[in-house]
């Protein structure tokens, strides 16, 4: 049975009851008919109509008014027990009585409805408060969706589903299982227009849907879909308004969950970054300690007093050389691990490239002793904004490479020049040059200049150079020289260095 039919039946019952009650009243007042003024009896009828209107509503009030007029006329107005009226004045009494009764019935009924409405609004506001508190405690989107479903079903009798979107694209992550068909184009429309969209209940499925976008200060978080089967529930404008109010609460809750996620992800990355750097630091310590012992002990053999036989000294020098080479490899590996871990954190400062170059040469020490090295840097070279420690590794690797891939005694040249936008550092050697096919790939990890070569190295050095230079917004390239050997170019953006006032004295 539909809701409308049941309401009709209730109204019918109430009207019948009203007629009975009016008759009972009239019957009870009969003994007073001869003794009281008619006017007073009218008053009692009016009072009765008012009470009926308050208790049973407007329709019953009007029924009571009409009944009262008829019964008053029939039972009390002379000639009694007849609908005839002796005195035409009484017609005025009837009219006044009817109008007063109907108007007061209407007013009473409206008052009652207002009170009921206020009560309902109060209850809904209260329920919104309650649900806001519940939403504030949710830990996940699923929780929020479950609360939404239960709440809206209880409050307005509508099925509700939250659809959470990424950015403004309806890439549905449906929370909860829907029994009805979601019209994606309407959902998209709701998101893009930022307004509530209704679909007709006449669609094939028999479900009427409302799409309310979940908007917060920052951005949209999804859509609230309300659905009602046309046979059982009606989607009234009040219900939609209530659901819109709820949707704003849900949007705030989703926004909070979103920021909780963001904060958590950030905390996670900070923690893992800290962990990574402490692991690398411990690894660096543990790897360098035995190397230090090796270098130190080999060195003390070489400088032993009284001197050891030349053979033994040569051996200990070799041990020391190899240990140092291993140490440089370890440094490169650790650096690569640090850089590969993602977010390279540059400690940028304005530097004189001369500092970097001279520190690299100092650092390499004996590794360059087999090659005459010439360095050309303009005395007035601009400062560049770089992470000096990382850039020193770049220059060190380039020089070490040049020494490795050119025959003993072949000169190496390092030159720094400037264009309006770039600082260019080039390392030239007179070695065998680079296989033209490898020119592009040689900076990728574990690529080596010569296949199966006997020259030690990992190909790691150049990969690190590339990562570091790129992190500085620069680029690195290799070219073969026309005569012989190769050139490795590092180009760094110049920027505008801070000025230093000239001194005159």
């Amino acid at each position: 049975m539909s809701k409308h039919a049941s309401m009709h039946l209730r109204q019918w019952h109430q009207s019948l009851l009203t007629v009975l009650l009016t008759s009972t009243l009239a019957f009870l007042l009969m003994p007073l008919a001869e003794r009281w003024e008619l006017a007073n009896i009218v008053m009692l009828f009016l009072l009765f109509v008012l009470m009926v209107a308050i208790k049973l509503g407007q329709t019953s009030g009007v029924v009571a008014a009409i009944c009262s007029v008829f019964l008053f006329d029939y039972l009390f107005v002379p000639p009694r027990f007849s609908l005839d009226v002796a005195n035409p004045e009484h017609l005025v009494t009837f009219a006044v009585m009817l109008i007063t009764a109907v108007v007061s019935a209407q007013m009473a009924a409206r008052l009652k409805k207002n009170a009921e409405d206020a009560q309902m609004r109060e209850a809904r506001t209260h329920s919104l408060y309650e649900v806001a508190r519940a939403l504030a405690g949710t830990q996940s989107i699923e929780d929020a969706a479950n609360i939404t479903e239960a709440f809206l079903l209880a409050q307005v009798g509508l099925k509700a589903y939250a659809i959470v979107t990424d950015a403004d694209v309806v890439k549905t992550q449906m929370v909860g299982a829907a029994q009805f068909h979601v019209e994606t184009h309407l959902a998209s429309l709701a998101v893009s227009s930022k307004k509530t969209v209704r679909s007709s209940a006449l669609n094939t499925t028999g479900w009427g849907c409302v799409y309310i976008p979940l908007l917060s200060a920052e951005h949209g978080h999804g859509i609230l879909v309300l659905a009602a089967h046309e046979d059982t529930t009606e989607i009234t404008p009040e219900k939609v308004a209530f659901c819109e109010a709820y949707a704003s609460l849900l949007a705030i809750a989703l926004e909070r969950l979103h920021f909780v996620d963001v904060a958590y992800a950030h905390e996670l990355s900070v923690t893992s970054e800290r962990l990574r750097s402490s692991i690398l630091s411990a690894l660096s310590h543990d790897l360098r300690t035995p190397l230090t012992v090796l270098v130190g002990l080999a060195d003390s053999l070489a400088t032993h007093e009284p001197p050891l036989p030349p053979d033994a000294v040569a051996t200990s020098v070799t041990i020391q050389d190899q240990a140092r080479r291993l140490s440089s490899l370890v440094s490169n590996l650790l650096e690569m691990a640090r850089l590969n871990a993602g977010n390279v954190q540059l400690r940028l400062d304005w530097h004189d490239i001369t500092d970097v170059v001279s520190a690299s040469i100092e650092h390499l020490g004996d590794a360059l002793k087999a090659h005459p090295l010439s360095v050309q840097i303009s005395p007035h070279v601009s400062l560049v904004q770089i992470d000096a420690t990382l850039m020193e590794r770049v220059v060190t690797n380039l020089l070490e490479n040049a020494a490795k891939y050119s025959p003993k005694g072949a000169p190496i040249m390092l030159q720094v020049s400037e264009t309006p936008d770039e600082l260019q550092l080039v390392v030239r050697d007179e070695g065998t040059g680079i296989d033209p096919q490898k020119l592009d790939t040689m900076f990728d990890m574990f690529e080596r200049g010569t296949k199966e070569s006997t020259i030690q190295g990992f190909g790691l050095g150049l990969s690190i150079c590339k990562v570091i230079v790129q992190a500085h917004g620069g680029h690195i390239k290799a070219v073969n020289r026309a005569s012989c050997g190769a050139e490795l170019w590092v180009c760094l953006p110049k920027g505008t260095p801070p000025s230093v006032p000239e001194e005159t004295v």
Binding site: L291, S327, D352, T354, H363, P497, P498, E503
Partner: protein
Amino acid sequence: MSAKPRVLLVEDEPEIRRFVKSALEAMNCVVTEADSVMSATHVLSVNPADLLVVDLGLPDVDGQTLIERVRSWSDMPVLVLSARAMEQDKVDALNLGADDYLTKPFGIAEFKARVQALLRRHQRQDDLPTSVLSFGAVRVDFTKREIFKDDALVHLTVTEFKLLAALVKSSGKVMTQKALLQEVWGPAFKDSSHYLRIYISHLRQKLEEDPARPKHFVTEIGVGYRFKP
């Protein structure tokens, strides 16, 4: 100093202690060993030392804590040994009062040179300050404020001279960039590293044989500068 210099070596790795100790003994030093900050503090309270060689990564407390403690009552030279990759650790140690550092692995000759420089520097502080200093082809007369290179007079600006004096005064130790900026330009300039770069470059142009490959005004990358006579 006529007596043998006393050195306290704080290092937790016995093998490293072994060769460092023999290097020190070859330099005619008396060596006391400690393997933790606690035992080092204990030793220092009984046996004063002329030089402290300390590893930064010690098992109980960080080596930097020891440096800080020692600096609260003594100006003995401190040489830091560090296996750590991060430059910041060295800078922190130097700012806490260490005089120099060596990154592991290091050669014995390198180590001896650093120790010698620190001991000499400490000894010189007890003598009268020298007013004339020579390095390479350069002669500096501090009282007359005159500088000669290859016997030709070189003009330095006021700031250049101040920077030269600051570096020479700390000969044998590393000056962090912050310490140099503070000493030459004042506390307000402690982050204006570009001033330091420009003026170091000026000094090199005027006083170095080959400014692109400096021998006296040496860069300690990520840390600061060192003057080598």
